[in-house]
């Protein structure tokens, strides 16, 4: 007897517990095996690039907070760097170091969320997520202390930062940096050495380096595939050229490698923070810039190593107070593009783990 069987279409999303927002995956399944996957984006499209063309350069900074809402500091930084490049503004040394400190704290906060949600995709019942929240909370407290906001910080400004740090910042930040290595060791003992996490993510969702480069991925996704690449070293910005740190790289390009790369980046960020907090120079944190900026006609592209990968802003100025073109090269969107090749032939649980290991934020994918 032959049984009639046919492929079976399952929509994962836009409402699904593990799509990190309103992302939709349309899986065609043969049994539980994925034979085709289609990514459908755009549910959170807010037309940010067009909206920005009607606003002045300074008014656009809060927009960048809403891109990757888990790492607002990095987004502010990348945008302000692009405007500064357009205008030819030099940021004072203290401002550069403050930017590094905030960006690295933001990286820890973002990776905490990324690792926590990756563990949730693997099926842990909230525990790592809650542990990560505990430390992220302290980082957000530091942000609140400095600029009054926790999530959408709007802190990095053109020509420097919005406020210099308050006197209570340094003791709190130093204490936190002292405490973090202990916490990271705790996470490693819970997650990194966990047999079930290893069997769930080892050799799952493999992204070979050729594909990773061809798809233009960046950040932990690229480094997990064994490609040594980090914009902090390749094209140093702010004060990164004066700081000593290593780049963690994986060797297999699977979900486990992307996860351990993020784990190690937490340690490296702590290392950078230790140095940056000790080296923080005195002096002004920012230079005065006019409120109505009119950059000269021209174009500029500035990029940083955001927690999720290469975040770039491309600005074209026609001499008016508004950018003529405002383009965002968002790492989440570009890292998501090879997903189909990564999940073909896997089962739904593996595909979910793969999606979790890419670490996307829909605010940035759809813009």
């Amino acid at each position: 007897m032959t049984m009639k069987s046919e492929p079976f279409v399952v929509n994962v999303g836009p409402q699904h517990p593990s799509t990190h927002g309103v992302f939709r995956l349309r899986f065609t399944l043969d049994g539980e095996r994925i034979v085709d996957a289609e990514m459908i984006m755009g549910y959170l499209h807010r037309s940010m690039e067009k909206l920005a063309e009607g606003r002045t350069y300074i008014q656009n900074i809060p927009f960048t907070d809403r891109l990757d809402y888990l790492s607002a500091m990095s987004n502010n930084l990348a945008y302000c760097m692009a405007v500064e490049k357009l205008m030819g503004i030099e940021v004072p040394e203290r401002g550069q170091f403050l930017r590094v400190i905030m960006a690295e704290f933001q990286r820890i906060a973002n990776h905490a969320m990324a690792i926590g949600s990756f563990a949730m995709e693997c099926g842990v019942w909230f525990t790592p997520m809650m542990w990560m929240f505990r430390d992220r909370e302290k980082i957000l407290d530091l942000f609140e202390m400095t600029c009054g906001a926790r999530l959408t910080t709007n802190y990095v400004r053109i020509g420097g930062v919005s406020f210099d740090i308050p006197p209570e910042f340094m003791p709190a930040a130093t204490a936190l940096v002292k405490e973090l290595p202990e916490r990271i060791a705790e996470y490693e003992s819970l997650l990194l050495e966990n047999e079930i996490i290893v069997v769930r993510s080892r050799d799952v969702g493999v992204l070979p380096p050729e594909l990773a480069i061809a798809a233009s991925t960046s950040g932990p996704v690229l480094r997990g595939s064994g490609v040594m690449w980090d914009i902090r070293k390749a094209d140093p910005y702010a004060a990164y050229d004066r700081l000593d740190f290593d780049i963690p790289v994986g060797t297999r390009g699977d979900c486990y490698d992307r996860f351990i790369v993020r784990m190690e980046e937490l340690r490296q960020s702590v290392r950078i923070l230790e140095q940056a907090l000790a080296m923080l120079p005195e002096g002004p944190a920012s230079v005065e810039v006019p409120l109505a900026l009119r950059p000269p006609v021209g174009e500029a592209y500035a990029r940083i190593e955001a927690p999720k990968g290469e975040l770039g802003f491309y600005l074209v100025s026609d001499g008016s107070p508004h950018p003529q073109r405002f383009h965002i090269r968002s790492p989440s969107f570009i890292n998501l593009t090879p997903l189909r090749d990564m999940v073909l032939g896997l089962t739904i649980p593996d595909a979910i783990v793969t999606l979790g290991s890419i670490d996307i934020v829909l605010g940035e994918v759809d813009r």
Binding site: V124, R134, I196, R202
Partner: protein, 413 residues
């Protein structure tokens, strides 16, 4: 009112009921004691389970809160102790939606049926020497038979919801339950070989008589039974049938209100049932090396039961979920062969003991040590054989580099 003669003796709550039944037997028709004992027994079991549930729904949330470095429920009542009451009210008052394309009858029937097996199991669990609803002479067989019925209501729920996620959850559940039923039975067989009886009270009595617990004589079987039990009750790390991050909520995706409440209830009841079975069969039930002379036996039993349930909560708070094929492979490749080997050795030991007519005090400690060594050696050897020690499954760390541009894909760490 003669039946109240010994009501004050809390060591056995069955005394009062026993006296009542005797009085009824003397003064009424023959069939009356059967009906009354069935009604009293089932009501007691339901009340016991519901109170345990109310307490443990709260205990679980507080404990997991503690594991997760947060407070847990703390708004309703002192330390949030009435949280489960609030939850129960919510379950009852919320609308129980039946989706338009559902198979209405089956959809309604599934949540009712799913509670039954977990309840019925308690009929053969002895809470104390006389506190057992039905002391069947095939008690162990009854446990196995009733336990495996759970698959049917769950499949009914998944099928009738007319939802792809539900169907996938139901398929997974059925596949899992059927596979894990086999090692579970093998684990129970070890007990039966030693005690030579299937009566639950007989097994407890055997452990009492020989002054040992079967957990010492059958360490491997306890482990197998515990793992199978965890799979049957669908909690992490084996909550594959309702894997939240993959298939939304599995077979009960479409359920809401009290209908969902029944599934939730059944999950807890099944958890208590598994804990009760382990406590009875492997941990000596209501006995504790003579302490039952002084402390009511049912208290000892409940301490063991809740202690075991606490392990399930701890597991849920710590471990990630396995994938379905990994879990099935574990049942067939690891638990089944180990269970068979365990039975072989149990049979050999009993044969040795009975044929040579050796004194129990002399052989049982020897068997205990031998079986513990056997368990450790078997697990280690089997893991080695299946390649758990292979380098790709060892946790690694990312390699640290300073220079850029090169690709180290494929190099061994």
């Amino acid at each position: 009112m003669i039946f109240l003669a010994e009501w004050w003796d809390v060591r056995d709550l069955g005394n009062a009921v026993g006296a009542l039944l005797e009085w009824l037997g003397d003064h009424g028709p023959d069939w009356l004691p059967y009906i009354v004992s069935a009604v009293v027994g089932s009501i007691t079991i339901v009340v016991f389970l519901l109170t345990s549930l109310l307490v443990f729904a709260w205990v679980e949330r507080r404990l997991i809160g503690r594991i997760q470095a947060r407070m847990g429920p703390n708004r309703v009542g002192p330390w949030g102790a009435f949280q489960s009451v609030a939850d129960a009210i919510k379950f009852v008052t919320k609308e129980a939606i039946t989706s338009a394309n559902a198979d209405r009858w089956v959809f309604w029937l599934a949540p009712i049926l799913v509670v039954v097996p977990a309840l019925v199991v308690f009929a053969v669990i002895p809470f104390n020497e006389g506190m057992i609803l039905a002391d069947l002479n095939v008690g162990v067989l009854f446990l196995v038979a009733v336990g495996s019925v759970t698959a049917i209501p769950i499949f009914m729920a998944g099928w009738s919801s007319n939802n792809k996620f539900s169907l996938m959850g139901a398929m997974r559940e059925v596949a899992m339950l059927i596979s894990y039923e086999i090692p579970l039975v093998l684990a129970l067989l070890g007990v039966v070989i030693f005690t030579n009886t299937m009566r639950m009270n007989g097994i407890v009595g055997w452990q009492d008589e020989h002054n040992t617990w079967l957990v010492f004589l059958q360490p491997l079987a306890v482990l197998i039974y515990f793992i199978c039990g965890a799979v049957e009750i669908n909690r992490t790390p084996t909550d594959i049938a309702e894997a939240e991050s993959e298939i939304v909520a599995g077979y009960h995706t479409e359920y809401s209100g009290i209908k969902f409440g029944m599934f939730w209830l059944a999950e807890y009841f099944a958890g208590f049932a598994i804990a009760a079975i382990i406590a009875t069969l492997y941990l000596g039930g209501w006995t504790l090396w003579g302490l039952e002379e002084w402390v009511p036996g049912w208290m000892i039993f409940l301490v063991k039961l809740y202690g075991l349930f606490w392990f399930f909560i701890w597991m849920r708070g710590t471990l990630p979920r396995l994938r379905i094929d990994q879990l099935m492979a574990f049942a067939w490749k690891v638990l089944l062969p180990l269970g068979l080997i365990n039975i072989f050795f149990a049979g050999l030991e009993v044969l040795l003991w009975q044929e040579n007519d050796l004194p129990a005090e002399a052989v049982l400690p020897g068997f205990a040590i031998a079986n513990l060594v056997l368990a450790v050696v078997l697990i280690a050897a089997w893991a080695q054989l299946l390649g758990r020690g292979r380098p790709q499954y060892r946790p690694t760390r990312a390699r640290l580099v300073k220079e850029l541009g090169a690709v180290i894909y494929g190099e061994e760490a």
